[in-house]
Point group: C2
Chain length 296, copies 2
């Protein structure tokens, strides 16, 4: 059964990893939107999008694109979302939907919600998926499959618009769930932001060892360290933005972690075998649960 | 050209991940040893080894196995190595070689070296390879391919014996290099022990969140967290032993890490964009170097 496309004209602002994955998914299924517009400040990015053939139309004019769309998704760095939203909202037609895929909610929701023109809805949705790569070449149509997408609808979101966005992400293959801003930011701090911070830090620590050890560290990187370095290859600007946007919650989560690391260090210093084993065993339990939840 | 097997009778004590990988490699190439003996305290483990067909002979008598071998490799938990070495050394014939694959050198080298019977050599070698799995089923013959094996020969090691062990590991597909005890333990702390400690800790931190967040953390585990949990699935006893054996160096390395994490936290708290970006960018550089060194 061929499904009608959810949207007539969909604009992706920022066709990077996430944005170009949405475009590819839309191309592949034909059921997300009838007409695909990629908008970006960069001519080079748009040129690449054209070469890849993943949009029907490209433009550097974000407002033009917004004015002719019934859905716009901002797939840009977290700290650019508010200024860009403020730029394009005045041009968005009644009945259209604005969305974003920001990694941190902070107070984006209420702020943007307060500026919506009549008849325009705002339903952000964060797909919990990604790789360490960036740009239009990085995306793929199955990125969101079997991954969670968290919907974070602000107050007074019209139910039909919410339903549409939820259906959109389900057609991307994602499982969907609604959460509030605070909860979203706490979950993301734990499963994404803190792990990235730790990965950046351990690479930093290794990088600043004495020259001969540093070179050898790279040589002998066993799987533990290599996992960290893969994560650490992510885009610095994006992650700087995320850390700053989720500052309070991230720092609190890091503090919990630091305390737990200190407790493990104390257990080692005191040669407390039972305490050490206990802490390690907890890690296995979480892993077991993960496998059962098929996220592993 | 068919190479003569390096050893006549090789005993693997502890046919787990590493031990059973050596046995499989030996079976596959036929050039490591002519006759393979698997020794272990556990009848169940030996039964499994027999079922897998990866040894010619199995025994629970470590001394018997040692007495009839020209090479013995201890592939057992780090803290068991000294007691087992002391148990079997009196039975080892002149011209035979004792080795181990301990994850931490500590002062094992000098201690065992001082107890060698006449004509017996001791050349430990640590293959920098592994997975989070354990036991005789976990091994595979290509585990060591293109990975480094560090040889840590104590003082006065006979050159011909050292050469033989080096050739052994090269026939396992490994690249080899000689280092001293202190250097070995520092490298391993950085590339393996500390990453594992951090992985155990972050899983611990997540595990002790409030019940609803905890469950969701597992649900939404994005790739950053999942990498950690994979590492954290490792054997608790093995890692407890490693942490305790490398206690001083590990704690010092952790302290460096904690200071660096604190510096990143301060940069975030102060919203120092440049400092944050710098620290993240260092991670990318290490990653780039790793790729160039083909470890990635």
């Amino acid at each position: 059964m061929v499904e009608t496309p959810l949207f007539d004209r969909l604009t992706i602002i920022g066709p990077g990893l996430i944005g170009s994955s949405i475009l590819r998914r839309a191309r592949e299924t034909g059921t997300l939107a009838r007409h695909l517009i990629a908008a970006d400040r960069s001519q080079d990015v748009l040129k690449r999008v054209q070469e890849l053939g993943i949009a029907d139309q490209t433009t550097t004019s974000l407002s033009d694109a917004a004015a002719q769309s019934d859905a716009v998704i901002l797939c840009i760095p977290t700290r650019s979302i508010l200024p860009v939203a403020e730029q394009i909202l005045p041009f968005m037609p009644p009945g259209s939907i604005l969305s974003d895929v920001a990694s941190v909610r902070s107070n984006l929701g209420p702020t943007i919600n307060a500026q919506l023109p009549q008849g325009v809805s705002y339903i952000p949705a964060h797909p919990m998926a990604g790789t360490e790569h960036s740009g239009p070449d990085a995306g793929f149509s199955t990125l969101f499959e079997n991954r969670w997408t968290l919907l974070i609808p602000p107050e007074n979101t019209p139910p039909h618009a919410l339903k549409k966005v939820e259906e959109f992400w389900q057609r991307c293959g994602a499982r969907t769930r609604q959460v509030d801003d605070q909860y979203h930011d706490q979950i993301c701090a734990m499963v994404s932001h803190l792990p990235h911070l730790l990965a950046f830090t351990i690479c930093d620590t290794a990088d600043r060892l004495s020259t001969d050890i540093r070179g050898d560290v790279l040589e002998y990187a066993a799987s533990g360290f290599r996992d960290f370095t893969r994560v650490a290859a992510s885009d610095p600007v994006m992650w700087r933005d995320i850390f700053l946007s989720n500052k309070e919650i991230l720092l609190k989560t890091l503090e919990r972690f630091q305390n737990d690391a200190q407790a493990m260090a104390d257990a080692i210093r005191n040669e407390d075998e039972e305490a050490i084993t206990q802490r390690i065993e907890r890690g296995r339990r979480i892993r077991q649960s993960l496998i059962e939840n098929k996220q592993a």
